[in-house]
Symmetry: C3
């Protein structure tokens, strides 16, 4: 197993952060090519604008070369070259001198966070706009006019996403999905991409994978809808668990977004893992959802998808502003998220169902497995496993019942398999 | 929808209170004719004495013209003309001079409530008797004899009940049952009749009724048994919920009698309604049952029937005495009961199951339904409904899950239906 | 019904205590002959050494005539004649003079309980050894040598057990299993044998037994495995509940060992009985199991077997030492255990399912069963039974629902059966 460190993840984050991503366009492609360079098995798909995907239509492709607001002295007061958050995503092109009052209708700032630039989009309603700090906005001269330039294009093109399948012994599969549609944002974008890359690296090196892994780098919402409209049928039957990898970069919290029902295998594994291997985490309600579980868990899709996160979107003050940057995320944050999600996957892999092969207890002594504990208050793991491996109860539940660490249980399982005292039970 | 006010209900109560009802006889017919005059759709049924109804036999019909106890001075000490509670219901005729000691065996009074006349019956054991206040009883001269006259008849006749069917779109039906067999008693008789009349009035005017309503005005116990013996088969398959309307007249409490199992749709709707639209109510145990749920919920009948009440029978001191009169009930009491039971029915009517028509979230924007709330902590009702309308969960449960008022949910449901974003799901 | 008293049980215990039992050999036979003398229906089975029983093999038979350690002065320091705990069970024969250092490797004592002789076995690993008090051990001269004699035999023979079937009206059966393989030990051996004998006596005299009783006197572990390998098939379909009768002799506690799942009929009956008829008891976890429920509840056997005990094995200081003797157990302890286990069986016998024969309530009055309680807050037992006997809910659950003693319920059940107002429902 090749593990990536938090430092590796942070380095990737630094490379990918500056790219101007949106739900379509060159920023998405540049991001995917960076990932493909490291993981050549990644397939990049292009879906033409205008394609019908369930209730939606793939939108026109957006690209932008430059954008700025300048005053009469030709001073650039706001310049897209400084940060790609300055322009409202999907802004139409414009090149005009307009009054302050007219400009003001197209400005977005945060009075409560006067030094932060907000992240604003207008994907499905044609518009243009600039985002700036509230302090910048207050410094504008209200009695003059401004030159507003957005050198963008909105034209037929395609929606781009990346897909990577890592086959396992079983056709049953696990979904990992992250999004690649936000410009320079840290916890709520880049962290998801680089932790998913780390998991891809680790899973590729994982020997004897039980499950097949379907790993997606897609634009949020429209990308998930597009992908599902093309792949839903084969996913429906095979997907046993899935994770939307998002908000996995800071070091302030661990948090959990359950699936819609809260009762899938993904929920069970995630809760078990977080309860046993984190000192603390917050569970949110599905009513507080906000990423692609909105599509994966929708009633007619109904996949078992959850999110295991650090600070959840919408819960931290820097969310969707320029303050959600490379200073907010850190190698400890990214590494901790990688560790807990990879632990979930390890537990998913070993969470099988076994059944004993002998009626009554087997004679452990003749195999040298007898542990002298006739007076111990609680029987040892080997005897307890032999008492509870009934072909119906999975290893997570047995680990809870017999109060033994699941990895210790799994070591004993391997011994019992070696002596043919148990066998794996194929679930219906 | 035509609503009746508490004042209307109280006026009806004043008209009906003085009639001398029993389980059979002219008082029952007079009561039913009063109701039929207001609701001509009411059918009055007569079932002959001697008819076998399950384990029972319809008894002889009882009628009474006058009754009194007079002393040697021909002073009427107790006179049925003053209140029809003075005679034990189903008393045999008598006209004799008897000693005080003999008389005393046939007197009923309440030592703990010396100014109240008890309500006593002897339906299935031939007897006669007088009910009086304990103070009256104490004033009798123990050394003299009394002239006892009960001018009653017990002879072949019939048991009378009223039935009113209000058809709806569905064959599935809701039962409303109240009793018409107690003489002048307020909370524990008249209130049930007039609130059921109010509900009949309101349901008749209700547009687009989903369900059919079966409304019964019947003598308690023998009437319910008689009715069920004739109509049980068609009720069994169609009845989704039912309410015994009883003790709905005073203004001191709200209370709930669950069905035998406590787990029917009627229980669920009643509890949901009372929890959400009353500040306080008491739930009793089925062990404390006492009205026709005894028949409707009996094991081989097993209909989903509950009672949503004001002060429950047996729990208030005036119960089954002359103090349960027109002063005990009031328009606020009757009106509050009408409101909560009609609210139960409204919720029953809208408590349908819907399923979304699109996989993934639909694009609300292109329909002008998009509500800008990307940063709101809890998604709004439209998005939450689209996330949870899975064709299995009914609106009551969804309202609980998404923490939104069920009537607000239903407004949004109507919008989603209009745009074909959901459809009604026919439950199996 | 013939009841045995605690005194009878204690007398049997005194007779059986001194016999040198082990998992095979003459002590087992002597014990079984004593029981057969009282209960001639007991069948004694002999299974030859070397027989394969599931994963195990019936071991050689062990017998011992004498054993001692003597010093150079020919003083017997340790003598099997004093207590048969002095020799490690299944010790090989030896007759040698050996040094203290060599002897010391074969001595077992308890430093924390210096006056207690431990009970030690070596059934499946050939060895020899002596058990003695720690004080005795400390008094040995470390610089001399000792004459060690164990006059034992380990040779082909058989494993012996006793089986007694008491037929009932139904093929469905109840298992009682106790063990006969420990030498002179009180609470953890003899108590189980004599309480099982008491139950046998009582069951034989019980009129109209509903169930068949399978009563086993077997060596622990290997005996249970041997018995199951021969009888499992017929037990599997018919056994509705079972009790391992163990640790039923002292008067310090009542305790309960559930089955593996904790959800069988045996668990339900035992918990109901202990909750209702004991002031206090401790429920242990199946993780603290230690007797033949290890075999009966193993996944591929999965019989509904529990233990209703006094002080549980492994929880009291005298356990598996010479202090677990006839002073530790007493007639009150044995009698209390007999009472609670026989109460479990009585409740199991009456815990049937009934269904009413009439739709609606029957007319009790015409049968003289009417109890005047129209004003009582909680209906009486007869009405409540008629309301809840739905053919699905068993008497234990109904007794809980209607808050009435199950034996009082059963008296009323007999009345209702007499009047054909209910009938027994045959469960699927």
């Amino acid at each position: 197993m090749l593990k990536t460190t938090g430092n590796d993840l942070y380095k990737w984050a630094c490379d990918l952060f500056p790219i101007n991503r949106s739900i379509t366009g060159p920023g998405v492609r540049e991001t995917l090519l960076y990932i493909q360079n490291l993981f050549p098995a990644l397939t990049i798909h292009e879906i033409p604008s205008g394609t019908n995907v369930f209730d939606w239509t793939v939108p026109d492709e957006w690209s932008i070369k430059s954008a700025f607001i300048e005053n009469k002295k030709r001073e650039r007061i706001v310049d897209f070259a400084n940060t790609n958050l300055h322009v409202v995503a999907y802004s139409e092109p414009i090149d005009e001198w307009i009054s302050y009052d007219e400009l003001d209708k197209h400005l977005f700032s945060l009075p409560d966070q006067p030094d932060a630039i907000p992240y604003i989009t207008s994907f499905y309603r044609r518009n243009w706009g600039f985002c700036l700090t509230h302090n910048q906005r207050l410094s504008l001269d209200k009695k003059t006019c401004y030159h507003v330039v957005i050198n963008s294009k909105l034209e037929k093109g395609s929606l781009t996403y990346g897909e990577l399948i890592i086959p396992g012994k079983s056709e049953k599969e696990v979904l990992l999905s992250t999004y690649i549609c936000h410009p320079s944002l840290g916890n709520n974008e880049i962290s998801g991409i680089v932790v998913t890359m780390g998991l891809t690296h680790w899973l590729t090196g994982l020997l004897d994978r039980e499950y097949t892994y379907r790993i997606l780098f897609i634009p949020e919402t429209i990308g998930a809808i597009t992908y599902l409209s093309k792949n839903y049928r084969e996913m429906k039957d095979n997907t046993i668990a899935g994770f939307v990898v998002t908000c996995v970069g800071d070091d302030r919290a661990y948090s959990f977004m359950p699936s819609r029902t809260g009762k899938t295998l993904a929920d069970k594994i995630a809760r078990f893992t977080m309860e046993n291997y984190l000192s603390k985490y917050d569970e949110y309600s599905f009513l507080e959802r906000g990423s692609d579980e909105r599509q994966y868990c929708s009633p007619l899709i109904d996949l078992p998808v959850v999110s295991v996160m650090r600070s959840k979107y919408g819960t931290y003050p820097e969310y969707h502003t320029s303050l959600d940057n490379l200073d907010l995320i850190c190698s400890e944050g990214l590494g901790g998220a990688f560790d807990i999600i990879s632990k979930c996957i390890e537990i998913l892999e070993i969470n099988q169902t076994y059944i004993v092969t002998n009626p009554c207890e087997p004679q452990l002594g003749k195999r040298g497995l007898y542990t002298l504990n006739s007076n111990s208050k609680v029987g040892d793991t080997i005897n307890n496993l032999l008492a509870y491996l009934d072909g119906k109860t999975d290893l997570v539940d047995i680990s809870k019942i017999i109060q033994a660490d699941i990895f210790v249980c799994n070591e004993t399982i391997l011994t019992l398999l070696k002596y043919s005292l148990i066998k794996k039970n194929i679930k219906d």
